[in-house]
């Protein structure tokens, strides 16, 4: 592989890994906030146990999302300085907003939420989880504004070979950003919803002690996932309106359309291959749609089944199916992301800057080094995260440390 391909692989692997954590975080944060709201208002111990149990899984996953997010914040400057130099004055503003109004506040308040349990007033503690949830949305919003600019540049002028921001509002209101934000946020609700439903079904199937906790959780999970699927599909459909001609042509697979785009781009930008890899775009798009269909066919009837209490407690085959569905939204999100990002190739900023031009002046060895280092670390984090989530999910609400008063007292050791 040449250096640019390696750098692309590095970005794809790290962003894809980060995206897996984020998808669950966004959905789970919402569900934890909703459950904690009910717990705070009702004072019901079942709701409190639900908050702590789902909160613990959320924190485990969130921690991994944060540490991979730290790396992502530095990736563009590290490997794509051509992009930051050319377009940083425009879409860098969205990245700056993301770090300040979202990441900064989110991290600060997450610390307050985790360590302030049993310390803060319970209403303040509830407010804190809502701030964390809303700033998580804000983070996704500003990242999609930055990404939307790369997909469909708006609000800029070209001056002295660099882009300058002239219309902040136009950049933020970019349909390519807004529609994608709605799509991703709703898909994250689907991810969180199916995760909660699947883990709850596991416990109901095993007939563990916490029947109330998991019956209610399963209903909340499916209650969020099914409407989430409809919203995701609606925004996804709108997304086709905002797509680049090259992506649409690749998706349609029509030789005529591909040739037309190639001819049009050649007229604008000179000779070269101006089309995205057709097979990758199609495979990713079809994978996303097939997974969506599977989720809809299982999610629709599940929504009805969950209304009948004996079924929720006793239909073990269905429980098994729900647990098996946990990975589907993750796979669908990754496929959708490949569709969106590979489909805009060969451009880093659509029609303005190619991916090859966007790269930093790095040597082959440098990229191999960072690719190896980040892949090893991120790979290990994914494995640990999946294992820990599975372990804590199986153990149930009895073994949750979050929000518990510390048990081990420190033992003073004599210094002689």
């Amino acid at each position: 592989m040449d250096t640019v391909e390696l750098a692309r692989l590095q970005f794809a692997l790290t962003a894809g890994a980060h995206f897996l954590f984020v998808a669950l975080t966004l959905g789970l944060a919402t569900l934890v906030a909703v459950v904690q709201t009910r717990a705070t208002f009702s004072g019901d111990p079942v709701h409190l146990r639900m908050t702590r149990f789902w909160g613990q899984l959320y924190v485990i996953n969130y921690a991994m999302g944060i540490v991979t997010g730290l790396v992502m914040e530095f990736q563009l400057g590290l490997a794509w300085s051509g992009l930051t130099e050319y377009a940083g004055d425009v879409f860098g503003a969205a990245l700056a907003m993301e770090t300040l109004v979202a990441f900064f506040v989110e991290s600060t308040f997450l610390g307050l939420w985790i360590f302030g349990w049993n310390k803060l007033n319970r209403w303040a503690h509830l407010a804190v989880i809502w701030v964390v949830t809303l700033t998580a949305y804000a983070s996704a919003f500003w990242i999609m504004v930055a990404n939307g600019f790369l997909q469909n540049p708006l609000g800029h002028v070209l001056e002295n070979g660099r882009l300058r921001l002239v219309d902040f509002g136009a950049m933020v209101a970019n349909p390519a950003a807004q529609v994608a934000f709605g799509h991703v946020l709703a898909a994250a609700m689907v991810t969180g919803g199916f995760f909660v439903a699947g883990v709850s079904a596991y416990h109901l199937r095993r007939r563990t002690a916490e029947r109330d906790v998991f019956r209610k959780s399963l209903r909340i999970g499916l209650g969020v996932a099914l409407p989430g699927l409809f919203v995701t599909a609606t925004f996804g459909g709108l997304g086709f309106e905002t797509m680049q001609p090259g992506k649409i042509a690749a998706w349609s697979g029509s030789a005529e359309r591909l040739a037309a785009v190639q001819a049009e781009m050649t007229a604008l930008h000179g000779p070269g291959d101006h089309l995205p890899p057709v097979e990758v775009v199609q495979t990713a798009g079809i994978t996303m749609l097939v997974l969506f269909a599977v989720m809809l066919f299982l999610g629709g009837p599940s929504f009805l089944l969950m209304l009948v209490r004996p079924v929720v407690h006793g239909f073990r085959l269905w429980h098994g199916l729900l647990t098996l569905m946990i990975p589907l939204p993750f796979a669908a999100m990754l496929a959708g992301w490949v569709f969106r990002e590979v489909g805009r190739q060969p451009w880093a900023v659509d029609g303005l800057l190619t991916t090859a031009e966007a790269m930093s002046p790095l040597s082959h060895g440098q990229v191999v080094f960072s690719l190896t280092a980040f892949s090893a670390v991120f790979g290990a984090l994914i494995v640990i995260n999946v294992w820990l989530l599975g372990r804590h999910a199986r153990r149930g609400p009895g073994a949750v440390a979050l929000g518990d008063r510390p048990i081990e007292a420190p033992v003073p050791v004599p210094s002689f």
Binding site: V67, S81, T84, G88, D89, F104, S107, L388, A401, P406
Partner: protein, 246 residues
């Protein structure tokens, strides 16, 4: 205005997160048993998340206000920045994961990750700062890098004296002796600020063109961000009395 914004977050990071790095470096010295280490970690637990994010803000400010410098600084110091990020992730993974599974070996492993990651962070910061400040690279840069790392460690110890009690506090006071704890902390903070300011003066701080639009927004945000952090500092202002969630 742009330079003030960048300096605010960069210097804030060095002072606030520098203490967490230093405590992580000194973890084997401060905590001689698993339970002691857990209490030492409780000294930074509620803060480190809100402290490290100052560097995320630096990345954002660079991206929005100094995009050219961002590219030069990060891709120009590729190896050091990659090492810094890997060390950072390792340190954080150690902190987050140590308490999630009971068992001495699991905790010892992740405490090791915290220590190694903290040293890695301090040394890569040392390397970066000495490159920017003195223009030194290669083996010779190890000397100034070690000096900066020692400064982080000292800063962590002075922070630990403010947070811990009993024998742990005595151990942390090894450098300050009988001197006032708050004054020693102020001294190490000032030293880190000085290093940060001097390094900043050596950078080509040429803002991009988004400043007139973006910088006023950021300046308006700063009081709210500081207020949010102040709430954390106020909530956890008391000395550590036992282990935390980590």
């Amino acid at each position: 205005m742009e330079i003030f914004v960048l300096a605010f977050f960069a210097l804030g990071y060095l002072v606030l997160a520098g203490a967490d790095i230093g405590v992580g470096m000194a973890l084997p010295y401060l905590g001689r048993s698993a339970a002691e280490r857990r209490e030492v970690i409780a000294a930074i637990a509620p803060f480190y998340l809100g402290n490290e994010v100052w560097l995320v803000a630096v990345a954002g400010v660079l991206a929005g206000l100094f995009p050219e410098l961002e590219g030069e600084l990060l891709s120009g110091n590729h190896t050091l920045v990659v090492l810094l990020l890997v060390a950072w992730v390792t340190r954080d993974a150690g902190l987050w994961l140590r308490g999630r599974v009971p068992g001495a070996r699991w905790q010892a492993f992740w405490d090791g990750a915290t220590v190694a990651g903290s040293w890695g962070l301090a040394l890569s910061w040392g390397g970066l700062l000495s490159h920017v400040l003195l223009g030194i690279q290669g083996p010779l840069a190890a000397l100034p890098a070690l000096a900066v790392a020692a400064l982080f460690a000292a800063h962590g110890l002075t922070f630990a004296t403010l947070r811990l009690r009993g024998v742990l506090r005595e151990r942390a006071a090894v450098l300050s002796g009988g001197a006032g704890e708050a004054r020693t902390y102020a001294l190490t903070s000032a030293a880190l600020l000085a290093v940060g300011v001097l390094a900043g003066l050596r950078l080509p701080l040429e803002p991009g063109t988004a400043g007139p639009l973006l910088a006023p927004i950021v300046l308006t945000l700063i009081p709210f961000l500081v207020a949010a952090q102040a709430w954390v500092w106020w909530t956890f202002r008391h000395r550590v009395t036992g282990p935390s969630y980590l």
